[in-house]
């Protein structure tokens, strides 16, 4: 990959990152943080790549430890986010109905 291609990907990703969360409500700050936290657990892929090519003991040890930590980050992150969001099931609809009712008063 050329440096220019990498820089392009990097710059565009920054804008996408800014844009996708620009309208989040306060209620969802915690789940969003937790979800983003789970996504950076994708370092697992990097850890696997390094472990896969490691040939000496030190590198292997570091990389395997990284695989372990990254797995905890990724799997635990997605599960805990799901648990948080489970609580919101169906609720926003009720709030909307309530608001509509208030508006019609």
């Amino acid at each position: 990959m050329t440096s220019m291609a990498i820089l392009t990907i990097f710059a565009l990703s920054i804008f996408v990152g800014f844009e996708v969360v620009s309208k989040v409500s306060t209620t969802l700050h915690t789940p969003l943080m937790s979800g983003a936290n789970a996504i950076h657990g994708i370092i697992l892929v990097g850890a696997i790549m390094v472990a896969d090519s490691a040939t000496n003991t030190l590198e292997t040890t570091l990389a395997i430890l990284a695989v372990l930590l990254a797995t905890i980050n990724m799997v635990g992150g997605f599960v805990v986010t799901d648990r948080m969001l489970e609580m919101f099931k169906g609720k926003p609809k009720a709030a909307k109905a309530n608001k509509d009712a208030e508006a019609s008063k």
Binding site: G17, L28, G46, G76, V80
Partner: protein
């Protein structure tokens, strides 16, 4: 696997992460968004085992990798499932920390592997990852200790602290430069150690109420380390995913700080200039008015409008269901009942909504701060259940106190204020609350759940 297919699948995963973040920004789509992200991450993890190999290379350590993943799942899933909802913020902090640690380890292993042919840019990216990953790891551990209340939640400031922090940072950068120029292993280790120390020093001066902002910031940092690792490992997926988290995390951190009425700069660097706080204020015993459950029941019974302000104490006492019972009883008597939800009630923005939703409190009774504040002058009784900092007028009246400038619920404008508290202990931010001494305030001491049960019984007897 064919290289094109491999890269195409990487793109699919990157897009799934964009959809995940997008979904997580709206209540309706949040859960689906998270599941899309999880599916993408799973796909990426499976696919990487079939990555096309370069000339003359072979797979190593496959069994070890799979074992490590299995152990990680066995640790992570039960932790995430069993955690009490009240302790969730520190679990998120911990997950973020191990992610940062993983990135630092990947970079260290890669550094050992780089050899002499590596470009300067690659070495710089590796060094960056080790520094920020280590900082994020140790900083997250400190935020965990603070939230778990294993250490003081007050800002830890010691004389000359800012010089120590500045010197540590200079040391990190110096050894970073040394690592880049020498390519040796010793400077990298020294640098990692200093970065770990910096993470600790960076978070120590942050007050308890500001900890969520720091977690969010460290989360964004970890994202950037993932992006830098992606550059070194030539993985577009890691670059995109890491940058997404870095960018969205930065915006989220700013939004959180705004919701709490804090300047981000003040949160992070305020402690550099702050003097050690005399957090408890005047120590002389001042009189407070404490009441019995019957007094409280009578006040509530003859009210027309009651606002319940839940705080972390309610969650700790597991009193969500009892408070709901009380609210239902009042509503049955024709009293207008609402919950006033401060954006940072609990430990993190939105935390209280999650806790009350767990107790099936009707969503329409949860009123956010901006909507509930104008109604306090028409409110007869405010029932503050285990909250303190979010109703503390010091946020408006005492410049220089740790929560100064944070928007609060103006409960002092209501007719009566009832505090259900365990003790006179100050709140999480460690500041005395003047409102407790106000003439219209009644205190009911005890565990929130016990007190509420007694009030419910007294109300039944009326």
């Amino acid at each position: 696997m064919n290289k094109n297919i491999y890269e195409l699948l990487g793109l699919v995963v990157a897009l799934s992460f964009i959809l995940a973040l997008k979904g997580l920004s709206a209540p309706k789509t949040a859960r689906r968004g998270n599941l899309i992200g999880a599916a993408g991450a799973t796909l990426a993890t499976v696919v990487v085992f079939f990555a096309p190999l370069g000339e003359g290379k072979s797979h190593h350590n496959t069994i070890l990798i799979l074992a490590a993943i299995a152990i990680g799942v066995l640790v992570g899933v039960p932790a995430a499932r069993k955690i009490q909802m009240t302790q969730m913020p520190q679990l998120v902090a911990l997950f973020n920390g191990v992610g940062g640690g993983a990135a630092a380890l990947v970079a260290t292993a890669e550094y050992l592997n780089l050899g002499t042919g590596a470009s300067t840019a690659e070495v710089v990216a590796t060094v960056f990852t080790v520094i920020v990953g280590c900082t994020s790891f140790s900083g997250s551990v400190i935020t965990f200790l603070k939230l778990q209340e294993l250490m003081t939640t007050r800002p830890v400031v010691f004389p000359g602290g800012r010089f120590v922090i500045a010197a540590t940072l200079a040391g990190v950068l110096g050894t970073g430069g040394w690592t880049i120029s020498s390519g040796a292993n010793t400077p990298l280790l020294v640098m990692g150690g200093l970065a770990l120390l910096f993470g600790v020093l960076f978070v120590l001066p942050v007050g308890g109420a500001d900890v969520p902002i720091v977690i969010s910031l460290l989360n964004a940092f970890t994202g950037l380390t993932v992006a830098a690792s992606g550059y070194v490992l030539q993985s577009t997926l890691l670059i995109v995913a890491g940058t997404l988290v870095g960018a969205s995390g930065t915006i989220l951190t700013r939004k959180m700080a705004e919701a709490m009425g804090r300047s981000l700069f003040g949160t992070l660097f305020g402690a550099f200039t702050a003097k050690p706080q005399v957090a408890t204020g005047e120590q002389e015993a001042r009189s407070v008015k404490s009441g019995s459950p019957d007094d409280v029941a009578i006040l509530l019974n003859y009210a027309q409008r009651v606002v319940i302000v839940p705080g972390f104490g309610l969650a700790v006492a597991q009193a969500q269901h009892t408070v709901r019972e009380l609210a239902d009883m009042l509503a049955a008597k024709g009293i207008d009942v609402a919950y006033g939800i401060h954006p940072v009630a609990g430990r993190m923005p939105g935390h209280m909504n999650v806790l009350l939703a767990e107790a099936n409190v009707p969503y329409e009774q949860l009123v956010e701060m901006d909507e509930v504040n104008p109604t306090f002058p028409q409110t007869d009784v405010v029932l503050v259940v285990g909250a303190n900092d979010v109703v503390n007028p010091a946020a408006k009246t005492t410049p220089g106190c740790p929560i100064y400038g944070m928007p609060i619920l103006d409960v002092s404008e209501a007719g009566n204020v009832i505090f259900l508290k365990r003790s006179m202990r100050p709140g999480f931010a460690g500041i005395e609350n003047e409102l407790l001494y106000d003439a219209k305030t009644t205190l009911l001491f005890g565990d929130a759940k016990d007190s509420l049960t007694k009030v419910v019984n007294a109300l039944k007897a009326l």
